[in-house]
Every structure is written in C-alpha cells, then in structure tokens.
C-alpha cells in the first residue's frame, strides 16, 4: 500500500513524521501496531476467560463447599453423555433454535422483499425504522408482553380465540418458539434487506427480459444471491435461541433448554455447568465454520 515517492532527500523532522515514516517502511510493524491492542484484548480478556471456563469441565467439585477441585477427570463428560435427559435437552434446544430460524426466515423474506423492491424510497426508510424500533423495547419487557399474550385462560391470545372456541397455546415449547421468533425477527429482516438492497435491479430486469416470470426470477436469481444474507441472519437467530434461558423460564412452563441447565448448576457444580455449556459452544463453532464458506460472515 505504501507508495512513498522517491523523495528520500526530504527526511521528516517532526516526531509524528518520523514515526509515520518508520511505520510506512515496515508494514509488519504497522500491522503489529494495528492488531496489537485488539488481539491483546480479545485473547487475554475473552478467550482466556472462555478457556478458563471450558477447562473447568475437566474438574470436579467438593461436594460440601461446592469449590472447584482441580484434579483432572472426565466424569462430567461421562455423565452428560450417558444420561439421555441431556441428549433430549440438546435435541430440544436445537429443535427450538431451528424452528425459530425457519419461522424468522419465512416472515423476513416477504417483508424484506417488500421493503427493498416494492416499497417506494420514501416508505423504505420508514419501514426500516419500524423494523428497528422494537429492538429498543427491552428484551424482558417483550418477553413479559408475550407472557401476557400466551397466559392460559387470561392471556390476550386466549381472549382472541375464545369466540372461536379455541384455546391459546399456553406455556410451553410453542410459546417459547413464538416468543423467540418475535424477539429475533429484526435480526433476520435487516441482513436480508441489506442484501436485497445491494441487488441491482438490472439483474432482475434482465431475468424478466429473458422470459422468466416473477416466481422463477425469485427462485433462480434472487434467492441464490441473497443466500449469504439469509445465512447471516440465521447465525443470530440460531445462536441467540441456543443459549437463551430467560424466555424459557417466563413462557416455557415446564420446558427446559440447555441454558437453563447451565444456569441451575453453575453455583453448585461449575464443572458440570461448563460441560453442558460446551454443547452450544461446539454447535455454534461448527455452524460458524460451516457458513464461513458461504460468505455470510461478511454480510452480518
């Protein structure tokens, strides 16, 4: 990048000038300067913390004081893998996360498409603002709003369905999926919208000129092009649902997800909680590595 011209006779005299000069002659030094601080932060603050937590899964607890005993043991892993309840919890959690993702995609696609391609420019900004605004109504408030909605017998949904003789979903997995889809929907709409916005209209016109009708154009031209955006949105809906434990407690009734197990056990049995925490971490790392190829990470 450095394209200093051959003015080597003019040596910089100010301190900043000299530093700048030295740096431009040594790209690696520049790089180190740029990377140094963030890397230090991420590695020392975050990854060391993460590692410290995950290493704990190989330890055990003093049964009485709940202090962590630092002797290496794989007992926690044995416990997690041999008890079918945890497999059930994992499948349930992944299932919920997947359902939420699918629902979000289903709702976001038409919305984003409308916003990007059908709505006029004036409306577009308004629509984006309307989509972003709910993000500022605090998470807990929205969950409790849904509690008010799904409450059996006295909830809003129950009230709306009563004339039809139906009852609402009540607390449970359905309520959890509905609430989580509601919470993360903006995080799915926005990347898809951004992706669609970047899509030049000329491509779509060209497809039309070549004889494709709207449906075909969407299927063969639009979807493949915004696929990375969809995947980008799915990273959030999936990971946010995977680790959630608060929503489940409030609208989930008896349902439990992996996050709840971690929350319940971290005070009395931190190593065990760490082992359970490894499950969603592993799932997400695999997921991220897999989607990296699709270029979704650049579309976040």
């Amino acid at each position: 990048m450095s394209a200093h011209t051959e003015t080597s006779e003019v040596r910089p005299v100010t301190l900043t000038g000299r530093v700048s000069d030295a740096m431009s002659r040594r790209p690696r030094l520049r790089l180190a300067g740029l990377l140094g601080l963030p890397m230090l932060w991420l590695v020392l603050v975050y990854f060391a913390a993460l590692f410290a937590l995950l290493i704990t899964s190989f330890y055990s607890v003093d049964e009485f004081t709940n202090a962590v005993v630092r002797t290496f043991t794989t007992q926690n892993f044995v416990d997690v893998f041999t008890d079918p309840a945890y497999l059930k919890a994992t499948l349930r959690t992944v299932g919920i996360a997947a359902s939420v993702t699918v629902i979000c995609i289903g709702l976001a696609l038409p919305m984003a498409f409308f916003m990007a391609k059908v709505a006029s420019r004036r409306w577009r900004n308004l629509l984006v603002a309307l989509v972003i605004t709910p993000l500022w109504a605090a998470y807990l408030v929205k969950v409790y709003a849904w509690q008010a909605m799904v409450q059996p017998e006295t909830g809003v949904i129950a009230w709306m369905l009563k004339p039809f003789g139906l009852s609402g979903p009540g607390y449970g997995t359905t309520a959890v999926v509905l609430t989580l889809s509601y919470l993360w929907l903006p995080y799915m709409i926005l990347p898809i919208y951004a992706g669609l916005e970047r899509l030049p209209d000329s491509l779509l016109d060209a497809a039309g000129d070549l004889g494709a009708r709207s449906g075909r154009t969407v299927r063969t031209v639009v979807l493949p092009l915004i696929y990375p955006s969809i995947v980008a949105g799915s990273i959030f809906t999936f990971s946010l649902s995977l680790g959630d434990y608060i929503t489940v407690q409030i609208v989930g009734g008896k349902t439990q997800m992996l996050g709840n197990i971690v929350y319940q056990n971290y005070t009395t049995n931190l190593p065990f909680a760490a082992t359970i925490a490894l499950i969603p971490v592993a799932i997400m790392v695999v997921y991220l590595a897999a989607v990296r190829r699709t270029g979704a990470l650049e579309n976040l």
């Binding site: 590695v43 020392l44 990854f47 060391a48 993460l50 590692f51 410290a52 290493i55 704990t56 607890v61 003093d62 049964e63 009485f64 004081t65 709940n66 202090a67 962590v68 005993v69 630092r70 002797t71 416990d79 008890d83 079918p84 309840a85 945890y86 059930k88 919890a89 349930r92 409450q151 059996p152 017998e153 006295t154 009540g170 607390y171 407690q249 409030i250 009734g253 008896k254 439990q256 709840n260 197990i261 319940q264 056990n265 971290y266 005070t267 009395t268 049995n269 931190l270 065990f272």
Partner: protein
C-alpha cells in the same frame, strides 16, 4: 498455510491454558477437600463501632421491605434514619443464588436458609457472630439458636430470623373439597393434572418427595428427607420425575407463583405464605394449608459476610431486624413464625404466633428444615453413605429435562 493457521490456533490455546492454570484462583477454592472437620478460622467482630454509612443486604423476598412493594410496608427506612446506614437490598430467589453471591464482600448480610448456611460456613464465606453484640440474641428461644445449620462446635454463625414451612396452596373455587394432603400434587390420579406448581429447587423438590414417601412408602425406611441413601434417593427422584406429568410450572420467582395462582393456571402446589397473602390481597380465591404428611421448611439465619465491608452497619441491621416490633412486621408480612417470641405481643393479628406455632418447640422439631445433604448421613447412619448435594442438583436437572 494450513499448518501455520493450526500453529497459531494451537499457540493461542496453549497460552490461554497456561494462563488459566497458572493464575490459580481464589473462589475456585484451594482444591478444597471435604473440610467437614473444621470451617476456616474467622474472627467475629470484637466491638461495635459507628456505622459505616451503608449496608448491602441479600435477602429473601419480603424480608427487607423498604416501601417499594407497598408504601405502608417498610422497616428499612426507619432503620436508615435511626442508624445512618443506607441499605441496598437485593432479593435472591434461591439458596444457591445466595451461596454464590456471598463471600466476596459484595454483600454484608444474608438471610440464609439451612441448605446454604452450613455450606457458607464451611466455605469460609461467612464469619462467626459475636452474640454479645446482638442485643436480641437472648430473647430468641434456644431451640433455634446454635442449630445444626447455623453453628459449628457451639460457635454461632448468625442470628435466627424466623421460620416456616412450605405450604400447599390451592384455589378455593376449583380445589374442592379443600385438600389436606400432598397427594393432590403427587398422586397420578390427581384431578388437578397439569395445574400443579412445584418450587424449583433441588433441595426442596426432592426432600418434599422424600417426605411424601415417608408417609406413603414407609418400608423405604426414610428417617430424614435430607439423608437418603442411593435406594431412597432413586425413589425420591422417581416420584419427582413422575410428578412432572402433573406439574404445570416450576416456580422460583415468587411473583410468578402469585401470577399463576391468580390467573388460575396453578390450582394446587408448593408455596410460601407471602404468596398466598399477596394473592388474597388481589382478591384471588386462594388458601394455604400444612398437609398431614408434614412438609419441608426453612429456618433462616442472618449471617455476616466474611469480607463484609460494613461490619458495624451489618450488626446494626441484625439488631434491628431481630427486634420485637420489626419481627412482628416481617412475620405478618411474610407469613412466618418470628424468631424473637417477644414479637408475638406486637402483631396486629393477636393469633398470628399461634397460627404459625411460633412458641411451639415440638412443632418446630417436626418440620424438615432445608439442610445440605452430605455423604455422611445426616440421620446418623454409619453403615451406608448418603447422596451428597451436588448429585441432588444434577438429578434435578436431569429430571427436569427427561
């Protein structure tokens, strides 16, 4: 290229691992062995000095009301005015939460129940109390002081606050006839299937199941619901697992339990008196009863953090909360028996202490107060080992997810 990347990741990993293991860790104890022999040596406060201006209180809901729940219910503001110690109250929902938060000096005092108090003592999270500095200590009946859960070798680690039993709450308009047995919450043929609520605590959930088994399966030989050998433990876990099909919710925040009772999604279930009181105040048809099989309960003790930054204010608070007028207020608000029996003359409802058996030592000894299960059986059996607490939490997690 791949080699280099692998190398880099491995290097980062090794560095972090080195950091993790090298930087020992304090709360991740000094590789604590089961130090049941001796709790760490900590000194009690020698003399009471002037207040430090602040006190951080970790309490059960309803124990330290400062007017925010109901402007007429406030015994914290008078304390602040009298002592100049500004009180920051934080509510904890479970004993585990309390256990985790104490010991670092973030809080000065905690109202610990028996299933966390002894653990706190042995973990060195709380310090012994100097009973001569506690003005009301002498007024509390001896059968509450220096008990198995709040003292070690005769050294007192706190001052009792009050006690009560886990009760069975029920909707009077749906649960007819009025239940008097836990069978409505455990029996597979209960008419209230799907509308039972259970307190979401491993200790209480499994011990309660054990109490029920004491009455329904006496051949299991359970003498103390917190001292369960493997066979008894498995039976309790099975009962709690079967209960899942009957349960509609597991509550930990008392407001959720209250909401559920008021809306009717809970018809019967485990509760605290304060929940029933609040629901009744909202005109909901709710009542409570202590079932015939007995119940688990809690005997709470105010303890002082080993690293308390405001020890003087802490003692001032402990004196305040155990004084007769305040004890009367708390006991009536929460719905429990006050530790200080002198409060019985000061309650607005003159029958309060009778209802809650505050002076009844025999009744007190019947309740199975929350304790920490240990492998050295609490009922004194030496021919077998009992299941320790960490296994209880795992079993609870497992059954909640099965």
């Amino acid at each position: 290229m791949a080699h280099k990347r692998l190398f880099k990741v491995a290097a980062v990993g090794a560095l972090a691992a080195l950091l993790a293991t090298a930087c020992g860790g304090s709360s991740s104890g000094g590789g604590g062995t089961s130090t049941q022999a001796e709790p760490p040596k900590l000194a009690a406060l020698q003399s009471l000095g002037t207040g430090e201006g602040q006190v951080n209180i970790l309490a059960w809901a309803g124990y330290a009301e400062n007017g925010s729940t109901d402007p007429k219910v406030d015994w914290v503001t008078p304390f602040e005015q009298a002592t100049g110690c500004k009180a920051n109250v934080q509510v904890a929902n479970t004993s585990d939460e309390m256990f985790e938060k104490m010991g670092a000096g973030q809080f000065d005092v905690v109202s610990a129940s028996g299933d966390s108090s002894l653990r706190m003592i042995y973990a060195g999270k709380v310090a012994p109390v100097n009973t001569s500095l506690l003005t009301n200590y002498a007024d509390i009946p001896a059968w509450q002081e220096t008990q198995q859960w709040n003292s070690v070798n005769g050294v007192a680690y706190g001052i009792p606050h009050g006690w009560g039993a886990q009760l069975l709450a029920y909707r009077t308009d749906v649960a007819k006839p009025a239940p008097d047995s836990w069978s409505v919450a455990y029996d597979a043929n209960t008419p209230y299937k799907g509308k039972v609520t259970v307190y979401d605590s491993p200790t209480d959930g499994l011990a309660m199941a054990a109490v029920y088994l004491m009455a329904t399966q006496p051949d299991l030989g359970i003498k103390n619901p917190y001292a369960l050998d493997q066979k008894q433990f498995d039976a309790a876990v099975k009962l709690a697992t079967d209960q899942k099909a009957l349960a509609g919710s597991y509550w930990s925040a008392y407001t959720d339990a209250q909401k559920a009772l008021e809306s009717g999604s809970t018809v019967v279930g485990s509760t605290w008196q304060i929940i029933v009181n609040l629901a009744k105040a909202d005109k909901a048809p709710v009542e409570s009863v202590l079932p015939k099989e007995g119940a688990t309960g809690w005997a709470d003790t105010w303890m002082i953090d080993a690293k308390s930054p405001h020890p003087n204010c802490a003692y001032l608070w402990m004196n305040h909360i155990t004084s007769p007028p305040v004890q009367a207020q708390v006991a009536e608000w929460f719905g429990e028996a006050p530790a200080n029996t002198k409060a019985c003359d000061l309650t607005t409802d003159k029958t309060h202490c009778d209802t809650f058996h505050a002076k009844d030592e025999a009744y007190f000894k019947q309740i199975w107060f929350w304790s920490t299960p240990q492998s050295g059986c609490l009922d004194g059996r030496t021919d077998t080992t009992c299941v320790p607490y960490s296994e209880w939490t795992k079993a609870w997690s497992s059954l909640r997810n099965s």
